[in-house]
């Protein structure tokens, strides 16, 4: 904000608009998606992703029609919502789940007045709704390259501790790190293929779609706090949905703060709550609720730090 100066015309204009930014996010999601499709098989993933996106776009159109709003359901934001929601679902769940989840996600955005007014990340609300409503489906995970159900490394960790996790990977730490990096583990469709997520992050940063503050502080906090609590920090950042959340969910424009300082506080808060939920709550993973909780205080973060442009603070005598 501090870079803006009020000047006379002519002004520089460029082609960046909502549709461009949203499509950039969708494109950056593709590497991780392809990884997920290869790992879990296309029958378990592709129909789920497609239905989720279609349901999100249709619900957006429906709500805009009903509420007599301008019809902007093809601007890419609904597609991103449906896409993100599908990627944070376990593969192979019944197909009506993403449909309901996407509908609820769009609903949660439209009741607050549509894109730009929603306090919570719609895709995460959709996921939270599914996790709370259908916990049995949302915690049944497929084994990579197989259709046998298994549990995620984090679920094993919260039950049996680190030795249980190592048992999944023939007892070797380096095998564990390697196979988790390549996504050979149980988990959501989009979160397992770490290389794809990193490629997506690089794309987002290079095209200046997002800034580095939130992903870096989020990941750094998770790394440091897990290490202080005695968990293998590399395992901690490779497991669960932390990376997916930090790169694609926590950086959502509407629900994250604007200023660099507040972005750093926000990233730290997300990471800290995330690790606290992992260690001390009765859920194995807490990315969804960590980001949703920080979304709540986003407006406060900005208002506390922002200095309004063009106003002089009145002296209080």
């Amino acid at each position: 904000m501090s870079n803006y100066v009020i000047t006379a015309s002519p002004h520089i204009r460029n082609k960046i608009n909502t549709a461009f930014l949203m499509n950039m996010v969708s494109i950056s999601l593709l590497p991780a998606t392809i990884g997920g499709i290869v790992i879990f098989g296309w029958t378990n993933t592709l129909p789920l992703i497609a239905l989720s996106i279609i349901s999100a776009v249709v619900s957006e159109a429906l709500f805009q029609k009903l509420l007599k709003l301008p019809m902007s359901y093809l601007d890419g934001s609904a597609i991103v919502t449906g896409f993100l929601l599908a990627l944070c679902c376990p593969p192979g769940i019944p197909l009506w789940l993403p449909v309901i989840g996407s509908f609820f996600a769009i609903f949660s955005k439209q009741v607050f007045g549509g894109l730009g007014h929603n306090p919570f990340n719609p895709a995460l609300i959709g996921r939270a709704f599914l996790v709370l409503s259908f916990p049995a489906h949302m915690t049944s995970w497929l084994k990579p390259f197989d259709v046998v159900t298994t549990s995620t490394p984090l679920a094993v960790f919260s039950e049996k501790g680190m030795s249980g996790v190592l048992g999944l990977f023939q007892g070797s730490v380096s095998t564990m790190h390697k196979s988790m990096f390549w996504g050979i583990r149980g988990g959501c469709i989009g979160e397992v293929f770490i290389l794809g997520l990193l490629l997506g992050l690089a794309l987002l940063l290079l095209t200046k779609t997002i800034q580095w503050y939130v992903p870096v502080t989020y990941m750094g906090t998770v790394f440091l706090v897990s290490w202080m609590l005695g968990m293998d920090p590399i395992f901690s950042i490779l497991s669960g949905g932390v990376m997916f959340g930090a790169f694609f969910m926590a950086t959502d424009y509407v629900t994250s703060p604007m200023l660099p300082q507040s972005k750093i506080i926000y990233g730290f808060g997300c990471g800290f709550i995330n690790v606290m939920i992992r260690f001390f709550a009765n859920m194995p993973e807490g990315t969804t609720f960590a980001i949703l909780l920080m979304n709540v205080i986003t407006p406060m973060l900005d208002n506390r730090i922002k200095k309004p442009v063009g106003f002089v603070k009145e002296k209080t005598s």
Binding site: I100, V111, F129, L132, S133, F134, P135
Partner: protein
């Protein structure tokens, strides 16, 4: 006279609905509306306490000193709640168990204290009976409309009877606390929308 009776009985429905418009006593409404049977039980309990304490206070209104009125109100409400609790424990132990702490909490329900303070302590007995019935009716309709939605969506049943067969998977969230907030928010939104439309229509006439 007839219009006055009608007005006293129906004002709780929409214009002064204690839950949807005045938004009082939400704690018990949100917590108890998990199932229709609990909501019905709560409504009856609420009606019992409201009507009887309004009548009692209306009878005694000339002897209650202004500076001591709140403690006196509380003592009167509390005695009716105690009677109610004993009745429930004796004849409906399962309902008593399901409603739990929310029966004793009727003592501090702000809807009842509000009605007594603003109505029963100033008006004659007959009016107070009608007022108590009207407000209880509004309360009952509000809590039942929330409970019906929550039980159907969150459990797939209504009054315990299964509606959709075994293949239906209920969305558990609706019988958890977030579902209560969600449903009451949507219902308040719809009611505000409808009443705004109605008042605009009236203004343009």
């Amino acid at each position: 006279m007839k219009t006055k009776i009608k007005q006293l009985l129906t004002k709780g429905l929409l214009k002064e609905n204690p839950v949807f418009v005045l938004m009082l006593g939400l704690c018990s409404v949100l917590a108890v509306s998990v199932s229709v049977i609990n909501a019905l039980g709560m409504t009856l309990a609420f009606t019992f306490v409201t009507v009887l304490s309004e009548v009692t206070i209306s009878v005694l209104r000339k002897w209650i000193p202004k500076s001591l009125r709140i403690p006196i109100f509380i003592v009167i409400i509390a005695s009716f709640v105690t009677i109610l609790q004993f009745l429930l424990q004796a004849y409906f132990p399962s309902l008593n168990k399901a409603l739990g702490i929310f029966i004793p909490l009727i003592v501090v329900n702000c809807i009842i204290i509000g009605r007594i303070e603003s109505f029963a302590s100033k008006k004659p007995v007959f009016d107070s009976i009608l007022d108590g019935l009207g407000i209880s009716l509004g309360y009952g309709i509000a809590i039942l409309s929330i409970a019906i939605v929550r039980e159907i969506l969150g459990n797939g049943t209504i009054l315990g009877y299964s509606l959709f067969g075994t293949s239906f998977e209920p969305a558990l969230m609706f019988i958890l606390p977030p579902g209560a907030f969600l449903v009451i928010g949507i219902e308040i939104g719809i009611i505000n929308h409808v009443s705004k439309k109605a008042s605009r229509k009236e203004a343009s006439k």
